[in-house]
Amino acid sequence: MDEEIKTGDFVVPGDFLATAEEFMPGEGAYEEDSKIYSSRTGVVLVDARTKRISVFPRTPVPPELKRGDTVIGRVEEVRDQSANVHIGVLRGREDRQLPLPDLGVIHVSQVRGGYVKDLGREFKPGDIVRARVVNARRGQIQLSTVGDNLGVIVATCSRCRARLEKDDARLRCSNCGNVEFRKVASDYRQGVL
């Protein structure tokens, strides 16, 4: 416990890293009784400049949403100002379920580049969307679908619930011929997350 911990050292949860006077606990580290210990299994990273000691995990860790992440979710409810989305998976971490909270919100201003008059024309409950995380801190996760590759990737007809086919800028139901609009992603119904 007296030996100095250096960058690259392998640690497990509970291993002593440094004293709290020397360093600040970073990711994967915690402070207790003015000492810093590891909270996960991995390799130590000592940042002498910012005086931060952290543990880079070697084990798979629970996924965590950050700004800029791409997520796949299902539209639950569409209101005048916002649409609620149940976030299913974080892209790149499809192996593991997300811890809660898993509720995201897309504000009207974050749907597409231009002006959106009626949000109900862009999303409908049940649509599967690909969205980018704008803000993951405090409570609700704010999402955005601005961009060509973001938006609805699977949608169903609101009349007969059959899958909608892309028909130029619109979506057409092959079953009942109903025509609908969405903020679709460029690869709508291509089967990619």
Partner: protein, 241 residues
């Protein structure tokens, strides 16, 4: 099996161990592909698998806690784990062990980081030879670390007891059956905080102190093996260690 005349002969136990000796211990981390974290532990004839899932969405939703995650634990013995077939499913004993195992592991997990989520631990006893709850806790702790769940420390657990008026470490089934006392202990090795202590039988004050010291010693050995298992699986260059 008949009760043997003596459980300790010339300071040696039935299986040839010294009173303060642990059974052969083998720990492996990350054995299950589909679990978020897992571990397999063999302690003598005990064979235990532990799997961890989560943190994940909590179902049923009304069990969610708005400020922390909830740790759920299931201890289960396979029907073939004991000599006489055990009726499958939870019984009084395994429900109790699930509860104490959960309480033994709860203090090390940073549950407050995952509000409204659940972390599930499954402890499956494949083969039992006394001390399955402690072996299960040892395995579950490695499985939690394997899942990358933030933890304050690992948890190491071992049983101590009294057999033929001798304090012994890590009882076997025969010693548990015909011995006078069995005391399973789980602790957080760094701060030596006890997270589980049960006792079946009697100890005098003096004996209790000696048994506790012996258990601390045993947990230390188990802790080293747990660390070694994680190191083996996750260290960057294992040949250089």
């Amino acid at each position: 099996m008949e009760k043997p005349e003596k459980l300790i002969v010339d300071g040696k136990r039935l299986d040839g161990r010294a009173p303060d000796e642990l059974r052969p211990l083998k720990i492996q981390a990350g054995v299950l592909k589909r679990a978020d974290g897992s571990a397999y532990v063999e302690l003598g004839k005990n064979k235990v698998l532990a799997a961890v899932y989560g943190p994940r969405e909590m179902h049923p939703r009304h069990h969610q806690q708005p400020d922390t995650a909830v740790l759920r634990c299931r201890y289960n013995m396979a029907p073939f784990s004991v000599e006489e077939r055990k009726r499958p499913g939870p019984d009084r004993r395994s429900v109790e062990i699930s509860k104490v195992a959960r309480e033994a592991l709860e203090p090390v997990v940073f549950l407050e980081l995952y509000p409204r989520s659940a972390i599930d631990i499954f402890i499956e006893i494949l083969q039992a030879d006394a001390g399955t709850r402690t072996t299960g806790i040892t395995a579950a702790s490695v499985a939690l670390a394997d899942a990358g769940v933030p933890m304050r420390d690992l948890v190491s657990a071992v049983a101590v007891g009294k057999v033929d008026d001798t304090i012994v470490l890590d009882l076997t089934k025969e010693e548990d059956q015909w011995g006078t006392t069995d005391m399973p202990i789980a602790l957080m090795p760094r701060k030596k905080l006890i997270t589980l202590l049960q006792m079946d039988g009697h100890f005098t004050h003096e004996e209790f102190k000696r048994a506790l010291a012996l258990a601390f010693n045993g947990c230390e050995q188990i802790y080293e093996a747990q660390k070694r298992a994680l190191r083996e699986k996750y260290s960057v260059k294992p040949e250089e260690e």
